[in-house]
């Protein structure tokens, strides 16, 4: 595994030189800005009425115009939007080798296949973590800028802890999308499955099975932080299955591209 630093360097260089991370970072920036805007409107009902639909939506979304309400909003946004952007990140990391035709250059090399794949997973996870960090740094700055009340250290720490736990689960749950990108030899299959997972996640939560469906578990966690232990096991197993599936597929499937 002494080749891992070199593989990590290669993967990191590919990501840093690409425009895709920039666009995902830009997309993620919308979340704190929209959250802060909704809270700002909620704080001023007069302005909310003047803004019509946006005001009505703000009234529906925001629970309270203070730090706990704002942080809850951010966590919900990052749980839903974050999952989708994380899927984009990991799908790009794996799918690009197929769409750019560069996969063949990674196959007949004297480096363990697992080191190449682990570097990809690590870089994708790092990418997701940076997006989350960006969101919360900007989010906390915006919360302070609009002078939200109730920003005690305990509230902030609780919010950041919830955000971190949700982010970790979301990152673990996108690992199988590396497999879907490899299986579909590009981006379409993982993005299609991501949409399906969101729909099925909502459906399973509605039917009361959310704690059993991997991609509903972060949403369930936001509603009820004390989930049964097996829900966390399901998250970890889903992630490991994704990594293992990707490894076996890269190692044993015929590679014609």
């Amino acid at each position: 595994m002494n080749t891992l630093p070199d593989m990590f360097w290669i993967e990191l260089r590919k990501v840093l030189r690409s425009r895709v991370p920039f666009f995902t970072a830009l997309g993620f920036l919308f979340m704190p800005f929209i959250g802060a805007l909704l809270i700002f409107i909620y704080k001023d009902p007069q302005l909310a009425r003047q803004l019509g639909l946006l005001g009505a939506k703000a009234n529906l979304t925001v629970s309270s115009a203070d730090w706990p309400g704002y942080l809850n909003l951010l966590i919900e946004f990052t749980a839903l939007g974050g999952f989708f952007f994380f899927c984009l990140a990991i799908s790009w990391t794996f799918g690009r080798e197929f769409t750019d035709g560069t996969l063949k250059d990674l196959l007949a090399v004297p480096v363990p296949r697992f080191a190449i794949l682990l570097a990809k997973f690590l870089v994708a996870a790092l990418w997701c973590a940076v997006l989350i960090l960006e969101t919360y740094l900007v989010g906390l700055g915006l919360g302070a800028a609009i002078r939200l009340p109730g920003g005690t250290p305990a509230v902030i720490l609780h919010g950041v802890g919830m955000a971190a736990a949700t982010a970790v689960m979301s990152i673990l749950l996108v690992m199988p999308f590396g497999f879907f990108a490899s299986l579909g030899r590009g981006y379409l299959l993982p993005i299609g499955i991501a949409l399906l997972a969101l729909i099925l996640g909502n459906l399973s939560m509605t039917l009361g099975w959310g704690e059993y469906f991997p991609w509903a578990i972060p949403g369930m966690f936001l509603q009820e932080p004390h989930l049964p232990f097996f829900s966390y096991i399901i998250v970890v197993c889903t992630s490991l299955a994704g990594v293992a599936g990707t490894y076996f597929w890269w190692k044993y499937a015929d590679q014609n591209r």
Partner: protein
């Protein structure tokens, strides 16, 4: 090249590539069938075939990218297995259209290739850039390169770790004539001076004739023939074309000397017998004796393309 072929015949062979009844089937379609071949150390072996003949499938099986339906391949003494780490430290390859990471520069792409071959010294990147004539483009993003330079970059990636065996799929694709000559010289230098073995596919037959020690002709997944360049020369049809003023008199004079001539569309006479081809002066003498001296004697050799198409049975009666 001929000298090297003779030498390799005299010495015991060290086979760098060996395949035993290699076969690949996709459902009912047989892409490669019972392919057995051997490539000796320091040899340039060229694989000739039409599109879809099975060349790329064979190269991918040799590189462990595709699992054979049955049969086996050994390279550099190591059995090729799907997903294995051996014997790739000493193998460089270029399969189908070369691709590079478009957002990385030429130098960065080569650095990535270097890191994929642990133990390759850092300076190998700059040396390879110089060797492949990429110095002017070293800091350009690969996505902005011309097709020819992408091909050079693909070759550079295959060579950066100084492999003992190089597998190249259509290496001259996209190169201009100067580039083709440059790459040919580079491959010849590597085989002559460094003992590198080259296994390549190509459809540029004239290029094959200049470069290869041996060729294998593959058609519809089967290896039809293997021959060295001398064998290829022997098997190409040759004929002596004679232009005369009086065809009938010439035909009678040649018949009297024991030669059968065929009349061509342009009025010339063609002789295919070995005696005529090997001794055109006898033909000239016979014609002079018959009172119809030749205006022109021309030894025509079958074009490589025509020979190849004749061999694979496509439009081969020209």
């Amino acid at each position: 090249m001929r000298l090297r072929s003779q030498k390799s015949k005299e010495q015991p062979m060290n086979w760098i590539i060996e395949t035993e009844e290699l076969c690949k089937q996709y459902g009912t379609v047989t892409a490669v069938q019972d392919l057995s071949l051997r490539v000796a150390e320091g040899e340039i072996y060229t694989f000739l075939g039409l599109n879809g003949a099975g060349k790329t499938t064979t190269i991918r099986m040799l590189l462990g990218m595709i699992k054979p339906t049955h049969g086996s391949a050994t390279m550099l003494g190591k059995r090729v297995r799907l997903g294995s780490r051996e014997p790739w430290a000493d193998v460089g390859y270029l399969v189908e259209t070369p691709h590079a990471y478009p957002e990385l520069s030429v130098r960065e792409n080569l650095e990535a290739a270097r890191r994929l071959h642990p133990g390759t010294p850092r300076q190998a990147v700059e040396q390879t850039i110089e060797r492949l004539g990429l110095a002017a483009y070293a800091d350009r993003r690969a996505g902005t390169l011309s097709l020819g330079n992408v091909q050079r970059l693909g070759l550079a990636k295959a060579l950066v770790h100084r492999p003992k065996l190089i597998l190249l799929d259509e290496p001259a694709n996209g190169l201009d004539p100067a580039g083709i000559v440059e790459i040919r010289e580079l491959l010849l230098e590597m085989t002559r001076q460094e003992g590198v073995t080259v296994f390549m596919s190509s459809h540029i037959l004239a290029e094959v004739a200049r470069l290869a020690d041996r060729i294998g002709i593959i058609h519809a997944g089967k290896l039809l023939r293997e021959m060295d360049m001398a064998g290829l020369e022997r098997e190409r049809r040759r004929r002596l074309v004679v232009r005369v003023r009086d065809r009938e008199a010439a035909r009678q004079a040649l018949a009297a000397a024991g030669f059968q001539a065929e009349e061509l569309a342009d009025g010339s006479l063609a002789l295919g017998q070995a005696g005529a081809i090997e001794r055109p002066d006898d033909i000239a003498s016979a014609l002079v004796r018959g009172g119809t001296p030749p205006l022109q004697l021309l030894l025509e050799e079958e074009e490589l393309e025509d020979y190849f198409l004749r061999l694979v049975g496509v439009n081969g009666d020209k």
